[in-house]
């Protein structure tokens, strides 16, 4: 290893931001979603016509809108972490609130999408495509709800002065979880809504 690379490696942080336990949880969650993605992809290859026909019924605009919403909310939570690292707790609170508002937008769009499907008589038992579509998006939806609960808890603690420039691991932990939720959706949207 060259001297420059060695110095760069020594300057790197030993652990990712936030509590180490959340990272083990994040990687475990990525593994679970990864298995679901691959199960979907290989099931599709065995039922191509059924999957392509059923996929025409999903709302691609809603999926794309939710991608933009999650990317925006992820950016907001990055700003929240940056603010608390500089000791600006009030700004951190504002950015966390912005994250939760945009994250709630995802919930609204997704509930609309679910009601649209259930209203059309589509359910888990309609066919294999909709079993995957509904279970994967509902599973992800539950992660978004959990992410919002975590961010709300972080926001309340921050409001009570619980975080500072020196001690802000909770904000980083909540932010890391929220990014994971975003990352999973970035794979899920093209895979289930677009690729045919």
């Amino acid at each position: 290893m060259s001297e420059t690379n060695l110095t760069q490696n020594q300057n790197r942080e030993e652990y990712p931001p936030g509590d180490l336990v959340i990272w083990i949880f994040i990687y475990a969650e990525l593994l679970v979603f990864g298995v679901l993605f691959l199960a979907y992809a290989f099931s599709r290859s065995n039922n191509l016509e059924l999957f392509n026909e059923s996929q025409k019924l999903v709302n691609q605009e809603a999926g794309a809108l939710n991608t933009l919403i999650l990317i925006t909310s992820s950016y907001f939570v990055v700003r929240a972490v940056a603010a608390i690292r500089e000791g600006r707790a009030e700004q951190c609170g504002h950015w966390l609130l912005a994250t939760m508002i945009t994250g709630s937008g995802f919930i609204v769009v997704k509930l609309y999408e679910f009601s649209e499907k259930f209203g059309a008589g589509i359910s888990l038992s309609t066919n294999t495509f909709f079993t995957y579509y509904l279970s994967m998006t509902a599973f992800h939806f539950m992660h978004v709800v959990l992410g919002l609960i975590i961010l709300a808890a972080v926001w309340f603690k921050n409001r009570r002065g619980g975080y500072s420039q020196e001690d802000h691991m909770g904000v980083e932990t909540g932010a890391s979880y929220w990014h994971m939720v975003d990352l999973v959706w970035i794979i899920l949207f093209p895979l289930v809504y677009v690729i045919r």
Partner: protein, 75 residues
């Protein structure tokens, strides 16, 4: 944002059906990799962390996107 809108355009205008799947699906999988890698590197802050942590999501993305590509071509 632009990559997401291009993904929507591919789906909305049925470009996969009209142009042919292979190259567009490859493009979509590359956009998945780029966007997800940006989230893990910059948003999650793994860019400044030791390699063993940084590589996990990148290897994950390569494996998942690669196997999706294999499944797509198997169909």
């Amino acid at each position: 944002m632009a990559l997401t809108l291009s993904t929507l355009a591919i789906g909305k205008f049925d470009l996969i059906d009209s142009i042919g799947g292979g190259p567009l699906v490859a493009f979509l999988l590359i956009t998945i990799f780029i966007k997800s890698a940006m989230i893990s590197e910059y948003f999650m802050g793994l860019k400044v962390v030791r390699w063993r942590w940084r590589m996990i999501p990148l290897i994950y993305l390569i494996i998942v996107c690669g196997l999706i590509w294999i499944a797509y071509n198997r169909a």
